[in-house]
Symmetry: C2
Subunit: 223 residues, 2 copies
């Protein structure tokens, strides 16, 4: 009887999403086009539409895959506070590695509110909030605050990293930004003028962790 034969390079949803991620990683958000995708996969546009509904679904799948991978290694054996730090750094690193993730996560909830991305993140952080001893009435509020901070800060950091990148290294990028703040005129912008040096010398990961600790300290001190 006839067995279904499959070419080893058969088009699958996974291969399409994989190629999309490669394009996003190498060419940025503007690099993901159906033209580039069909060339890389040596196929036609219609073939892709057989496996995915449209471009948004492709972006959702890429986002979900990256988030799932970032949350796959469950930190354990540490204190809840240290576990939250580890989960947060997992997301931070994922966004750092795939800068397009920052933008996509910001768009996720409006585009696909019933999707799997937000639940994954909420569940992972929320379990540790519970383990932290936060009373049940404050679970949702505390978890939301942490998730908002983590996605907001990691996303800005990715934007930051993207600002460098194109031939400009990070030190040069920060130096330029710092000089721009210094030029802003101490009358209208005295505060920026004063912290221009801190902008130049700050470490992204240290800063991210310090901010996360503010939120964690605020939660444990308040509830």
């Amino acid at each position: 009887m006839a067995t279904r034969t499959r070419r080893t390079d058969a088009l699958t949803r996974e291969r399409i999403v994989g190629a999309a991620v490669e394009l996003l990683d190498t060419a940025g958000e503007g690099g993901l086009t159906f033209k580039a995708l069909t060339e890389r996969l040596a196929t036609g546009a219609g073939a892709i539409y057989w496996h995915v509904a449209n471009k948004d679904e492709l972006l959702d799948a890429a986002t979900d895959g990256a988030v799932a991978a970032a949350l796959a290694t469950e930190p354990g054996g540490q204190s809840p506070r240290e576990e939250i730090r580890a989960v947060a750094f997992g997301l931070f690193d994922a966004i750092d590695e795939h800068p397009w993730l920052g933008t996509q996560l910001a768009l996720q909830f409006s585009r696909n509110p019933w999707g799997t991305v937000t639940p994954r993140i909420f569940e992972s952080i929320g379990r540790r909030v519970r383990a932290l001893g936060v009373p049940e009435a404050a679970w949702f509020t505390a978890t939301s605050a942490l998730v908002h901070y983590i996605l907001g800060a990691a996303g800005q950091n990715a934007a930051n990293a993207r600002g460098a990148g194109a031939g400009v290294d990070r030190a040069e990028f920060l130096d330029n930004a710092s000089k721009a703040w210094e030029k802003l005129g101490p009358d209208d912008y005295p505060f920026l003028h004063a912290i221009a040096g801190q902008l130049r010398e700050h470490d992204d990961r240290e800063q991210f962790l310090a901010g996360l600790d503010f939120v964690l300290t605020g939660i444990t001190a308040s509830v």
Copy 2:
């Protein structure tokens, strides 16, 4: 001698930006096209390009104008902590009123790092962080944490509000989201299962303020 006469409906950069804001407010981010813009302004595409360089510059100008308006009323006479709350609510309301602002603020720093938007926000929050008595070495870190939280939370809230909107009212939207979380299976998602009710009943502004207070409490307790 000939005086320059100007038609009262002469095309100016301000009129163009104003029309862009109206389109964004009424038709969403996808509603801002050069076709819609030229129709509304009764002109040709080239005329718009005489006043603005491209669409990104138009979006930047719209974003900057909305942020400047939100920060225009300086709260005063209150405690620094209350002033930070007032500034944060000003941004929260602006993003709530113009949902496209949430997305644009997330994109601002990567698209236009030397722009005026980020400096405006940092300066306004930062001055109050200083007034809070935070030591100078922590100014940048504390201000960054607050700005990240505010933009992250307000942006998510706008996405949330957009999710409702299209014929679906807020209560119905939250009810659907809550049911989706309840359906997620208590084995894989025990935490979401447990807080589905809190999602349904939470108040956006209360939640936003509670999260902000976590960050503020963390800052004052840590430094």
